[in-house]
Structures are given as structure tokens and as C-alpha cells.
């Protein structure tokens, strides 16, 4: 009776030790698995960031190489907030992302893996969902910025500044010395001023003088070169223009 009890106790202790070792091993193995999943998920998040940025920049590149003339509004629309989505699988991981691109933001984390340009900074908010066949499911949000080769802000500001200057100068000069005879002379003078102060050309499409008003149909053109980010050695001479008829009442 005593012998049996001793044997049982010894066996119990031995098996308990075995169990403890097995448990510990299992925990270590699980921690390796977890760390591995974490590393793979981190890799997939980087992939999401890059693919989101590539989708946006590639679309921009295609549009900027597609033609030579862009209106101010087209360019303005181009830099408005945009959203890109993509869902794909590599056979093991399924990935979905939705990326929001905006000129507004304050994040100072640059996305590595893409070239740095002197152009415009776009701030990206990325929402991702990554899952795999092992049951991993990672959802999250990330933010960073990317840059593109064209300085949209500079072009838009330059055109806006030139427009304001051109119109205010015409108003003030017309109010000072307007007569039907010297309209062309005043317009020509202001056009010269615009050329000297801004990188814009002013094209006067038409001047019509009536009894009660003068209408100047003008076009401001900002010439620049777009260097492709995706096609090596390819660039496109583009003109961004702003045009409208300006009506000045004759009192």
C-alpha cells in the first residue's frame, strides 16, 4: 500500500515536471509564432503604404502626361482630397486598404521606399485590414506623407496672385484715366507689369468697348515642365492657365 502510494507520488511529480516543461515549450513556441506574425503584419503594412502611394502617384503621373494644357480649376480639382482603395491577396495574406490623400496635414513621417521630390507634399491617412489563413486579422490606421515632382501650390498661388494683381491694377488704372481710346494702352501696361512680377504670361484674347462697359477677355498662362516620376527621362511641357472675361463698368 505504502509502496504503491510512493510510486504514484513519484510518477505524479515526474509527469507534472514533464507537463510543466511541455507547457513552457508551448508558450515559447507561441511567443515565436506571435512575433513572426507581428513581423509579417508589419511587412504587409509597409506594402499597403507603398501600394497606396504608388496608386496615387501613378494616377497623377498618367494625368500630367496626358495633355499639355491644364486649367486652373482642373489643377485645383487635382489637389482636392482623394481616396484610393485596393483589395488583393498574395495567396496567404488578404489585404484591403483605403487611403485618403490631402494637402492638409501635419504628419512629419515620410514614407520610405519612394523617392523624395521637391514638389508638393500630400498627407496620407491609411486604413488597412490584413488577414491571413492562420487567423491573423489586423486592422489599423496610419498616417504619413509623400511628395510628388510638381509644385502644385506654387503654380496655383502664382496664378491666383497674378489674377488679383492684374484685375486690381486694371480697376485702379481704369478708374483713374479711362477713355475708350486708351483701353488697349492700359491693358498693355498692366500686362507688362504682370510679366515682370509673376512667372505668368498674360494673353489678351479680346477687348470689347461698349457705351457702358469695357470687357477684357484675358488668359494667364503659367508654363512649367512636369517630370515624370514613373517613365524614365520623360517630361511634359505643360501650361496651366486661368481665363475669364473681366467687365469694367464705365461711369
Amino acid at each position: 500500500m505504502v509502496q504503491t502510494t510512493v510510486v504514484i507520488i513519484v510518477f505524479t511529480i515526474l509527469f507534472s515536471c514533464t507537463l510543466a516543461i511541455l507547457g513552457a515549450k508551448r508558450q515559447v513556441a507561441n511567443s515565436y509564432l506571435l512575433q513572426e506574425q507581428y513581423a509579417l503584419a508589419k511587412n504587409k503594412i509597409l506594402e499597403c503604404r507603398l501600394n497606396a502611394a504608388m496608386d496615387f502617384l501613378y494616377t497623377m503621373d498618367t494625368v500630367m502626361l496626358s495633355k499639355n494644357n491644364f486649367s486652373y480649376d482642373e489643377l485645383l480639382h487635382f489637389v482636392e482630397d482623394k481616396t484610393f482603395k485596393r483589395a488583393y491577396s498574395d495567396g496567404f495574406f488578404s489585404t484591403f486598404f483605403e487611403a485618403h490623400f490631402s494637402l492638409k496635414g501635419s504628419c512629419d513621417k515620410r514614407l520610405d521606399g519612394l523617392p523624395e521630390y521637391d514638389g508638393t507634399k500630400f498627407y496620407v491617412t491609411l486604413n488597412y485590414n490584413i488577414s491571413n489563413l492562420s487567423g491573423l486579422n489586423v486592422c489599423g490606421e496610419d498616417s504619413f506623407y509623400i511628395s510628388c515632382s510638381l509644385n502644385f501650390r506654387l503654380i496655383l498661388d502664382e496664378l491666383e496672385g497674378a489674377r488679383e494683381f492684374f484685375e486690381s491694377q486694371l480697376f485702379s488704372k481704369f478708374s483713374e484715366k479711362l477713355s475708350k481710346e486708351n483701353v488697349s494702352e492700359i491693358v498693355c501696361e498692366v500686362t507688362g507689369l504682370v510679366k515682370s512680377l509673376f512667372n505668368c504670361d498674360t494673353i489678351i484674347e479680346n477687348i470689347s468697348v461698349n457705351e457702358n462697359f469695357v470687357e477684357v477677355h484675358y488668359k494667364l498662362a503659367y508654363p512649367t515642365v512636369y517630370v515624370s516620376m514613373f517613365e524614365e527621362g520623360v517630361s511634359n511641357n505643360i501650361i496651366v492657365y486661368y481665363e475669364r472675361p473681366l467687365r469694367l463698368e464705365i461711369s
Binding site: 502510494t5 510518477f11 511541455l22 515549450k25 515559447v28 509564432l33 513572426e36 501600394n51
Partner: protein, 127 residues
């Protein structure tokens, strides 16, 4: 009476132990897990470094020109992992294989898109 309790007690213990052992047996090879984790971690680090060094757009350009193989070979040699790393790049209908070592297990994959084209980088680290 005591003998009966004794036997029942031993039987319960043995049953518990056997079932626990069976449950835990599949995760016995910790070394395998450690190696798996280590190799995948190195693969992820290599991919990250590669992207930092040569950006995505350059990788696509090199693949288009047919010079991605030598570039990746240089990268692996520069980082001293050429003998233990294999990179297989799937680009359009091509397969570019760089590196040396024995292929085992599942690779770490990176899927990249450039417009309607895609590139899949498969990487194995086998040290």
C-alpha cells in the same frame, strides 16, 4: 477500499497526463519555431532595407530593363547574406531568381503595384 482509491487515483492521473501530453506534442519542436521566426524576421528586414536603398519605382524600372537580377545579387552580397538567401521575383511573365541556399518553408512575400502591372517579391532566408 484503499487499494481501489489508489488505483482510481493513479488512473485519473495517467489519463490527465496522457491527454495533456497529446495536446502539447505538436508544439514540441521549439527550435523549429525559433528558426522559422528568425528567418522570416531577417526576410522582412532585408525587404525593408531593399526598399529603403532602391525605391519601388526603381525596382520596377530595373525589372523592365531586365537588370533587376544583378541589382538584387549586388544587394545580397553587399549585406553578406547571398549564400543563405533566395529571392524570386515574379514580374509579368518573368521569374527572376537570385541568391543561393536550399528552398524550404513558405517565403515572405511583398506584392507591389505600378498601375496595372504587379511585382511579387518572394524571399527565403535559410541560415
Amino acid at each position: 477500499m484503499f487499494k481501489l482509491i489508489d488505483k482510481a487515483f493513479s488512473l485519473i492521473i495517467v489519463a490527465v497526463i496522457v491527454s495533456s501530453c497529446l495536446n502539447n506534442l505538436y508544439s514540441l519542436n521549439v527550435r523549429e519555431y525559433e528558426e522559422g521566426y528568425y528567418s522570416r524576421l531577417v526576410c522582412c528586414q532585408l525587404l525593408e532595407k531593399m526598399l529603403k536603398e532602391y525605391d519601388v519605382i526603381r525596382l520596377f524600372h530595373e525589372a523592365e530593363r531586365g537588370t533587376l537580377g544583378p541589382l538584387l545579387q549586388h544587394f545580397l552580397q553587399e549585406n553578406g547574406v547571398y549564400e543563405y538567401t533566395i529571392i524570386v521575383v515574379e514580374f509579368e511573365s518573368e521569374k527572376i531568381t537570385v541568391g543561393a541556399g536550399r528552398l524550404s518553408g513558405t517565403p515572405v512575400k511583398l506584392v507591389l503595384f505600378m498601375g496595372d502591372r504587379s511585382m511579387v517579391l518572394n524571399i527565403w532566408f535559410t541560415k
